[in-house]
């Protein structure tokens, strides 16, 4: 399919509207994808700035820059913004851009709902961030908002927090419904389920997870709201409730949520490794089965976040074993990626560098995850910096590296321009070094005994905290550099070919670069 035909075809349709209304009223999946990606970038920088405040305070022992109350607000907002504002919208943005193009569909199935699900997001975060200026300050109870700290003892802004979480949830649910309906109904003829690109598969599974657990989160915050304002006592022991129940409900949402943030990354990395190894992905069907089993297992492991709440022995054993099982499908994925590279014909452009770093560092995060699954050892690790190191290893060089890899990989298709390879590589190495200098020492700090969410610490943790802070600032500055690279690429640069990468396969590489406003008005034929 050539670009000429595509463009010609376009003439019969409306092109993008001009000015601001293009973005406000758009129902085009590419426009909405772009909006999501820029929004998540903005949130990533805001959440990152908060991380810088946290690390600056922890540069050395003693209180220097902020007060403990404000510190708690920072850790809470940093977590919420990075999860709900950074990682999740970025993946939804990628899904918007890529899923229709990968399955040969003209657009998402529910374009108006697509517009709505994006445009309520800025309001959610405006509400959340404005709580910083309210009396009593922003939410200060951690992103896990355990009752009763988040109910009876919460600042008044908790009501706004609840409202904001409801909006984020509604946005995610609408996005997920859209993805599922698109994938189930709009695939090009011949595109069977087991022929779908892995990114599409990973998003299909993710979307089902979202449908299953976001309403549970909504339920949890609704119960909080009722406890705070309507005199119920779901989580209040005095009225027959139970604060531990909150944790069960929260983590019933929370653990699948963790996989919501990593499954699309699995899809992205699979494509990139395949492309730059110039070799077909090893074990496609086992990749799909591995993702499905990870998704199913995610519903029966939630209480491993709660090993210290005082559960009976039988429950602790069950959740330990179930959690350890997750290592099997995850291992299969890592082995498949390496087998794909094996005897390939590899080049290391920026997306591939990020993908390789993903494989290594995500696996490191997996190892510490396995250690955390061992209940007796978890009594020592739980709520220390070891946990902080663990989940940052799976989320930063995991989820976020995969998003950056995706941006470098697909930006030629989006903008029509190649990014500057030298700058991309420089950005990679700065980020790679920054991430490891930040988070590797946190394993030591945690094992040595420093709990998380501490604004100040004992002297034996000082040296590695200082190193960690230096790494954090390096990582933070590199992302401003990333912003520069992205803007530079969008503004201009070497023109990209339609296929862009030598080894690239898939329908999105058959359309012109930049991808025309409307693609696949007539479905392509898939063999």
């Amino acid at each position: 399919m050539s670009a000429v035909i595509e463009n010609h075809h376009d003439d019969h349709h409306h092109g993008p509207a001009k000015g601001l209304t293009r973005w406000l009223y758009t129902t085009n999946h590419k426009d909405i994808g772009t909006l999501y990606l820029w929004f998540s970038f903005a949130m990533f920088l805001i959440g990152g700035a908060m991380a810088m405040i946290i690390r600056a305070e922890l540069f050395q022992p003693g209180m220097q820059i902020v007060e403990p109350e404000f510190y708690n607000q920072m850790i809470t907002l940093h977590g919420l913004i990075m999860i709900f504002g950074g990682v999740m919208p970025a993946f939804v943005g990628l899904a918007n851009w890529l899923v229709p193009m990968m399955i040969g569909a003209p657009d998402m199935a529910l374009p108006r709902m697509n517009n709505l699900s994006f445009w309520i997001l800025p309001f959610a975060f405006f509400i959340l961030l404005s709580s910083l200026f309210m009396e009593g300050g922003a939410p200060n109870f951690g992103w896990t908002f355990y009752a009763p700290l988040s109910t009876t003892y919460a600042p008044p802004s908790v009501t706004f927090f609840i409202f904001s979480v409801h909006i984020m949830g509604a946005s995610s649910i609408m996005g997920a419904i859209n993805v599922i309906v698109t994938i189930m109904n709009m695939r090009a003829p011949g595109m069977d389920l087991m022929k779908m690109p892995l990114f599409v598969w990973s998003w299909l599974i993710t979307a089902y997870l979202l449908i299953a657990v976001m309403p549970v989160l909504a339920g949890a915050v609704t119960m909080m709201l009722m406890d705070i304002h309507f005199g119920t006592s779901f989580f209040n022991a005095a009225g027959g409730g139970d604060p531990v129940l909150f944790q069960h409900i929260f983590w019933f949402f929370g653990h699948p949520e963790v996989y919501i943030m990593i499954l699309p990354a699995f899809g992205i990395v699979s494509h990139i490794i395949e492309t730059f190894s110039r070799k077909q992905l090893f074990g496609y069907s086992s990749m799909v089965w591995a993702m499905l089993s990870i998704a199913i297992l995610s519903f029966v492991v939630w209480a491993h976040h709660m090993f210290t709440v005082g559960m009976p022995l039988a429950a602790e054993l069950f959740f330990m074993w179930a959690t350890m099982l997750i290592a099997v499908p995850t291992g299969v994925k890592v082995f498949n990626w390496i087998a794909t590279m094996f005897r390939g014909s590899i080049t290391f452009e920026t997306p591939m560098l990020f993908a390789c770093a993903f494989v290594v560092l995500f696996t490191l995060g997996g190892f510490s995850g396995l250690m955390l699954a061992i209940t007796p050892a978890d009594f020592q690790y739980h709520d220390t910096y070891f946990v902080v190191a663990h989940f940052h290893y799976v989320l930063v060089p995991g989820a976020i590296f995969s998003i950056m890899a995706a941006v470098y990989y697909w930006i030629p298709k989006w903008s029509g321009n190649m990014y500057d390879e030298r700058l991309g590589k420089l950005h990679f190495w700065l980020s790679f070094i920054g991430v490891n200098v930040t988070f590797f020492p946190q394993h030591f700090i945690g094992l040595a005994g420093m709990p998380r969410r501490y604004p100040d610490y004992a002297l034996q943790f000082a040296d590695w905290n200082m190193v960690s802070t230096v790494g954090a600032f390096l990582f933070g500055i590199s992302q401003v550099f990333f912003l520069f690279i992205v803007i530079k690429t969008v503004m201009g640069g070497k023109k990209a070919t339609d296929q862009v990468w030598e080894g690239a396969r898939g329908l999105e590489w058959t359309v012109a670069s930049p991808a025309p406003y409307h693609t696949f008005g007539t479905p392509p034929k898939v063999d």
Binding site: Q64, M324, H382, D383
Partner: protein
Amino acid sequence: MLSNYTNKLTGFLLTLSLFTNPAKADWFALNMTEGATAISEEVFNLHMLIFWICVAIGVVVFSVMFYSMFAHTKKKNPVAATFHESTKVEIAWTVIPFLILIAMAVPASKTLTKMYDDTAGDVNIQVTGFQWKWQYRYLEDGVSFFSNLSTDMDEIYNLVPKGENYLQEVDEAVVIPVGKKVRFLITANDVIHSWWVPAFAIKQDAIPGFVNTAWTKVDKVGTYRGKCTELCGKNHGFMPIVVKVVEQDEYDLWVSDKKEAAFKLAELTEKEWTTAELVERGESVYATNCVACHQVNGQGITGIFPALAGSDIVLNDKPRNIEILMEGVQGAAMNSFDYLSEVELASVITYTRQSWGNAEKGDGEIVSPKDIVDYKKPKI
């Protein structure tokens, strides 16, 4: 507010210049403690076992990967192989990890079962988490006390150099006998806290309304330090735990001393107190309980914590003054301090009524321990 920041800034610069950490070579604080009990050692060994298994898997997996990255580049291998599945290999790398996991799960389950020993202890201690301190109550002996952070605020705000046990020291440590089974019954008074002593491998959440248990049998005499590990509000990072493990006879002596002290305290409330005595005692009570919010100069923090210096209640309203300390202020940060002893309450109120020029401006009345006892009596 501004002067507060200037203070902090000078403090910051001061520590920068003083920045040489005393005592500890903390570059080597890299690993989990082996601890001081049989269980903690077992946990440590389990941790190391799994760590080394992970290292071994990592070495194998990553060497294959790095080998590919090195040997199978486009330059060295211009044409890629075409294989993309192998049922045998895929079965192997599903089954082998599964077997390794079983090898990990067996010792882990054994250790866990040991930790869940339900029998009673020789000594049973009720541990209650408060915002932001711990209360310990010895069930057999009736000894009961609070344990507060004893690190000076000036150290925290970098105005003076930090001591060796910065943020890991308390005004009164828990004392337990060596070689005896000690059971902790852990609960909380307000929000969820978590009681962690790494050397005993005990970490147990303290949940309001519910009692969790944990036990230990410590082999080595010594001082062990721990921390609160569940976010519990503003001063989550400032409620450490110190456990002193002593020989049995020393423990017995400590218990009898504590009992005697409690008896003496009861007597104290009966005696006639002078203003000077109360003020002297009150100053230290103030430093432990009040200074964080109301500040050393009694000025509080504008808009958040009300000033005591010149406050109308502190100057002229003795009954309300007592009531606030006993009941707290609904909807404000001021908690009830009714867990303090009568003497402590009386002296700290007297201290605030006599300091910062309050005595001259107001009625200057003192509050005696008896006033507190009277307050606690029912009024009909």
